[in-house]
């Protein structure tokens, strides 16, 4: 039999999926260069006085974490989620609710550490919220799930705006007057001691922005390391199974509801920690940071970058969140001549129009994204006509009834 198959497979190139986790030397060098660039960039920008660039790149980092979380839900488990920003909001507000009292409680010697204590708390609270939302809605699929998550995102934002339970300070945001988050651990020391000049034009001071820049990219690196592991794991495989054929996955003993819940909850965790970091980074949160448009933006990052692909997500965040911000930053800095503030903000608002068109274009031309995950690309490009052909087999009448029910 083996000879027979071997004969049949002549000319079919083997695609060793199993070694997907191992990197080539070129990839390793590429990653080393990328890491070096991430470390050196803020030092150069700070030294040459282009401070807005540091903030922009740090925010891109936050969006990378957010999109990595959403990527688990959309890319790995194949669930469409339009309300991811709600978990970002949960993390951000938990940071304020816990961080401010915690800073007071720990006293002066320890208060700088409150961020690092709040970080896991915010992540876990987001997980719990994700679980509470996920439990009832995991039976839904596709469009239905998208609508419920969209509604959830809006409900969270409206609750925040309406000062629910009197703890969100409404549209004015947190912290309220008189409160503030603790300065991060070690910042004062770094500010005092890390200071140098090279020649006349280069003057480096360790600022709060630089501090958060490095914290954010440390988190990005940790998130990537951890999420990479999911790909070739029992859990990651169960997601692939659920995505490709839910009926077959169940027949193999995969509890599809639990598998999807895992994706939802793990995804929520990354939203939560991004939110906590955002809160401390900005030292201020208000509901307007968590609009539906933000959810769409994060989804666009995942879709355009390439569902299921970590490099895709990074590239997507750079393109979707980065390019408009860079343009706005350069415009505000006067690089394009003297533009009025209105013109600058109008330019940046047109980006949504561009993203809409870009999404439609991508779906039509390159549904697998710019840097696709190999497996996902195969699914979306339908490189498996052999099996699809047999889907046309006469099914028994009940089969059709079942598939309709499954979709509802």
């Amino acid at each position: 039999m083996r000879e027979l198959i071997a004969e049949r497979l002549k000319g079919v190139t083997a695609k060793p999926l199993f070694t997907a986790g191992k990197m080539t030397a070129a990839q390793k060098i590429g990653i080393a260069l990328l890491v070096a660039a991430v470390i050196v960039a803020p030092i150069l920008f700070q030294g040459f006085g282009q401070l807005f660039m540091i903030r922009i790149i740090a925010v891109i980092g936050l969006y990378i974490i957010l999109a990595l979380g959403l990527n688990i839900v959309v890319g790995y488990a194949g669930l469409l989620d339009f309300g991811r920003i709600a978990f970002y909001a949960v993390g951000a507000y938990v940071a304020m609710w816990v961080g401010i009292p915690l800073a007071g409680l720990l006293g002066e010697t320890l208060e700088g550490w409150s961020y690092f204590l709040v970080l896991p708390i915010g992540g876990l609270v987001a997980c719990v919220v994700g679980l509470l939302l996920g439990l009832p809605v995991m039976r839904l699929r596709g469009d239905y799930l998208a609508i419920v998550t969209l509604g959830f995102g809006e409900i969270v934002r409206i609750c925040l705006t309406n000062n629910i339970f009197g703890i969100t300070n409404g549209a004015a945001g947190l912290p309220g007057s008189g409160d503030s988050l603790a300065a991060p651990a070690g910042l004062a020391w770094l500010r005092r001691n890390v200071h140098f000049t090279i020649g006349n034009n280069f003057e480096f001071t360790f600022t709060s922005n630089i501090y958060w820049y490095f914290v954010i990219f440390a988190l990005v690196a940790l998130s990537i390391l951890v999420i990479r592991n999911l790909d070739n794991s029992r859990l990651g495989r169960s997601w692939a199974a659920v995505r490709e054929d839910e009926v077959a996955a169940q027949a193999m003993g995969v509890n599809t509801t639990v598998a999807k819940l895992y994706a939802f909850v793990i995804g929520a965790f990354f939203g939560g920690i991004a939110g906590v970091t955002f809160s401390y980074f900005q030292a201020f949160v208000s509901p307007e940071s968590f609009t539906f448009l933000e959810s769409v933006l994060v989804l666009a990052i995942v879709v355009i970058g390439g569902m299921g692909s970590i490099p895709g997500v990074i590239f997507g965040a750079l393109a979707i969140q980065g390019i408009p911000e860079f343009i706005r930053g350069f415009a505000s800095a006067g690089w394009f001549g003297n533009l009025s503030a209105e013109t600058v903000s109008a330019i940046s608002n047109y980006r949504y129009l561009v993203f809409g068109a870009l999404m439609v274009f991508m779906m039509a031309v390159r549904p697998q994204g710019l840097i696709p995950q190999t497996r996902r690309a195969r699914e979306l490009l339908g490189e498996y006509d052999a099996i699809d052909g047999h889907e046309l087999d006469a099914r028994e009448p009940g089969d059709r009834a079942n598939s309709t029910r499954g979709r509802a």
Partner: protein
Amino acid sequence: MTSHLMEARGATIRFGGLTAVDNVDMYVDVGEIVALIGPNGAGKTTYFNMLTGIYKPTEGDILFNGASIVGKAPHVIARQGISRTFQNIRLFPALSAIENVMIGRHMRTKTGALGALFKTPPARKEEQQIQADAEKWLAFVGLSGVANELASSLPYGAQRRLEIARALATEPQLICLDEPAAGMNPQETAELNLLVGRIRDAGVTVFLIEHDMKVVMEIAERIYVLDFGKLIAQGTPREVQNNPAVIEAYLGLGADALMAKHLDEGGDDA
């Protein structure tokens, strides 16, 4: 009293006005190879779908190891020891052959989210074990050489056997094969017959739907025949082969018998 591995009592399922499976009693004992046959649309696959929890019977009961499995979710039934293949092959097409079989190991392994995220030593060890087990089952069905090929790139017969390997990887007590020989050439069919024998020898009871009568007569020890959802015959291959009801279901009545039936039913001659 019930020593059967699987037993259906009056199993019935209706879809609207259509009774797809009608009051069926059947059983499968440990170590048997039992076939379920019948013309197209007889309700065979629907019966399999009830047995594996995809449908819930409208009436009646299905027992597995003496306990009812009616109303249990498919993954729960799978965990209790019933595995299956599908008539219209349902592999995970964009996954490699070995990954397909590794998903079969899912329910017999336990690495959770934290183990997966942090690749803990136990998780790593289990992952290696999953891979080794999957390789073992691939070898069992003779697909070792194509472990890293995409499931969808395999030839049809190999896909059928990959589905069997995936089902076996769940360590079932009962494996339900839905038309395993469909679309196979004579050589592949002959090899399938040997494979089914080896599955049984490995301690897994086999329950199969098959259209290829040559396969059924060769490997099945007992046969059930469904027609329009009703059980019309059962017995050894020889008994079933000579059963007039079965011949009628498959070939229709001869002209004489048709006329006699027509007159019996009181039809007029016009």
